[in-house]
Symmetry: C3
Subunit: 348 residues, 3 copies
């Protein structure tokens, strides 16, 4: 982290926040709320974490409006509209630059003469680029990547080391692909035949839009025919599995270890949380949110919030979670009824 | 996709189907039922998707027997015994060929002089083959693969790029191994010792049969001793985890992101669906089917269908899913009883 | 496996066990209890597997105290304090040595001149080591590994092939990192902006302690700022996902396919079983145990055993599993009450 000396006044200007306390208070670094020392700035973005403020040592703390009544003893607070965005801005200022990318082609890279390389591309050591591949201007293909035949990589896209993109698949502009990602392996399709399982040829491709980010070791399979589609601005975490012929709509978010089965369609602006599973051949409307570890087995209309296995509404899920207590109560009532009935019987 | 002009009559002959409508109707491409235009052939393989036929534009549609009463207005139908197999056959005809494999050894590959290479093998750029490895006739080891010491790769097997096979493991004939697969990493075994956890040496291997397919980024660990075994014709999807000393029987199917814990035995012809987990040291008889995201904690007799966490029968699982409604009904009945009892008490 | 001829007396001395039966009985190999022949030694470590002893063929069997009454017909038993540790010791004796590591730098490796290599390091074929990286004495970086800028790898640490360690991350001494592992890919952080999702820079690192083992294709993301921390002696299985800013305490165990969401804190000596999920921003005290496939959504005090989704105590989980039977009983009782009430009503 860079060391920068900044006052609360300077920070408030950068994040467009309102100072509570000493505007001249100065910090020189950033840290999480538990680790921050008096010379650090930190943040608390939700009332949920209010109790962390009681023991926090940070000299300056970015807080949300709900926390504006926090004590300013020994510190200055800055109230922000959106603490996450504000802290991200500060974090970027303090960040050490990532290692510089040097345009050019490493002599250890193996590039087929028929591949077309744009301007200012960077191809890392021992990367392999097959015949007919096209690499857009300013794209970075890091060490040990494999770019298959006729693959297209868009301008300003970054492939970190050890990424595999199989033949004829395409990645758009300004994408970020993390190590270990596999794009375009065969989809999983077999039909029973007289001599056992017969492979269904997976003859399609994967088409990835612009501004897509894909996390480490995620796999996106090529289509049985046609294409598996990841639209613009989709953000995918680590170890996500996207099966053949899936379509993921713009700006949707797929969190770590979730899986989308074959031919499912995910709308725009959906959030599929960690470890959730989406069945094949179903569709989720725009803006659906699926809770972590949930399993969606039926299509969902736009805007649905789904929880559980099989997924249901939040209300239904909470009722299900509370079921043992409810059954306990019914049991008690039944015992009361039995006693009352026995008493009544005895009277006669 | 290749463009081919085919009539319904020609297609019916290829797929051994029965034409309903105009046998002279012609198409030139294939597409999914939603995307297909009048010049395309498509398919609907199950009554479940019958409503897709109402808006479908495809000129020719392969359908199952259950859908034989579908309207033939503007289109020709071909009824097939097995739509999946029929469409797979057509799909293979229209498919662009995958990039041709050129036999030979890329000069960037690093091959130990003691490795034995069969006839017509292809070794890709920057692949690494260690001492004592044996590569069968016609096998393809793609770019950036790692083949460990004394590994055996069978004839006509294809390793796509970036596959890792660790020392002494073996892969049979005609297998397909997708990118990012790791075969033969250490199994996970530790015992508590006086100074903390002590590693249990993992001295066994992985032995993979013939005609096995393994999906991207799947991991199959070497045995603690003896071997982890994947029998002939097993088909494994992406991101599957097979732990040490597991045995998977012939023609079983492991769907994406499922996990088989140590020393579990999976019979022949089993289907372990996506994200399911199988506990260690248990056995599943032949033909068991485990539903997606289910968790099997006890051995299952042959032919069992298991659902849920912990897994139970379908009937039990559905009863569990319906439990909140059942409890609601009991609650209502109890209220009725209370009222009736109060009325009876009042009478006395 | 090596062939060694050992008598029960010799084995009992090595494992510090007590012989029941013929001390002169001799074996020449090891095998699992189902596969072992009369010339093999095997083991049964728990009463759970007692029935395996009835059909076992092994000449010598290591058993736990609970099984000391087992028949010694045709075999010799050795009672051990801890069968797992005892068998691991024997297994190590019989194990073939793994392929020898030859110190030195493979000519195909690409190493930046500014990287600092310790004594007796081994760098494999086609590995890539970037500027400023430091490799400790005796460390082994296998073929096709990628070591980013300014990465530190501790002494005697082994990276198996195809491992990726991104810039500025560090791995301690005597660690074992299996193939396909990705350390230091970006954490997953986005904030909604006026033109869609905006990436939150992930400016921190990953810091891994000593004696850590990490299984194949596991991913450990770099921190948003500061560091993601894996403490000494932590053991991580295959396909585990550790998100940004997570901290895992000493000697904890993360089993295959589990996932730890952002900023979660796992105490010392915890066990997170296979496929379990831990929510972000929560903490688990020392010695917590989370059952396989469970989902922990709230912080847990030290020593908690948690099961289910959302996780609860074992007692609560078992009650929930038994709920359908309990509801069945209530249903029967209600029917009895209805009948009794009807009878009573009729009497009046």
């Amino acid at each position: 982290m860079k060391q920068l000396n900044l006052t609360a006044a300077q920070i408030a200007e950068i994040v467009k926040g309102t100072i509570i306390g000493d505007a001249g208070r100065q910090i020189s670094g950033l840290a999480g709320i538990k680790d921050a020392k008096t010379e650090d700035m930190s943040f608390v973005g939700s009332k949920k974490y209010a109790e962390q403020l009681t023991t926090a040592q940070a000299g300056i703390i970015l807080i949300c409006k709900d926390l504006a009544d926090t004590s300013t003893e020994n510190r200055t607070l800055i109230v922000c509209e959106n603490v996450d965005i504000a802290f991200a801005k500060m974090s970027a200022m303090f960040a050490d630059e990532p290692p510089a990318v040097i345009p050019g082609i490493h002599p250890g890279a193996v590039i087929d003469p028929s591949a077309k390389l744009g301007k200012n591309v960077s191809i890392g050591a021992n990367a392999v680029i097959e015949a007919g591949a096209e690499i857009g201007d300013g794209a970075v293909i890091d060490a040990l990547c494999y770019i298959g035949h006729d693959v297209k990589i868009g301008p300003a896209t970054r492939l970190y080391p050890n990424v595999t993109v199989m033949y004829r698949c395409s990645v758009g502009a300004k994408c970020i692909i993390h190590p270990g990602v596999v794009i375009g392996a065969d989809g999983f399709g077999f039909v029973p035949g007289p001599q056992g399982l017969v492979k269904v040829p997976q003859t399609g491709v994967v088409e990835i839009g612009n501004d897509v980010e894909i996390g480490a070791n995620t796999t996106i399979d090529r289509a049985r025919f046609g294409k598996t589609v990841i639209k613009d601005n989709v953000k995918i975490d680590d170890q996500v599995m996207v099966a053949h012929n899936v379509a993921v709509g713009e700006s949707s978010i797929l969190v770590a270890q979730c899986g989308i089965a074959g031919s499912a369609e995910i709308g725009r602006g959906c959030i599929i949380a960690g470890k959730a599973g989406i069945n094949g051949h179903i569709s989720l409307g725009d803006g659906c949110q699926v809770a972590g570890t949930s399993s969606v087995v039926k299509s969902l209309p736009a805007g649905t919030i789904a929880v559980g296995t099989p997924a249901e509404s939040q209300r239904e899920f909470l009722a299900r979670v509370a079921l043992p207590k409810k059954v306990q109560k019914l049991d008690a009532k039944i015992k009361e009824l039995e006693a009352a009935l026995a008493a009544l019987s005895a009277k006669q």
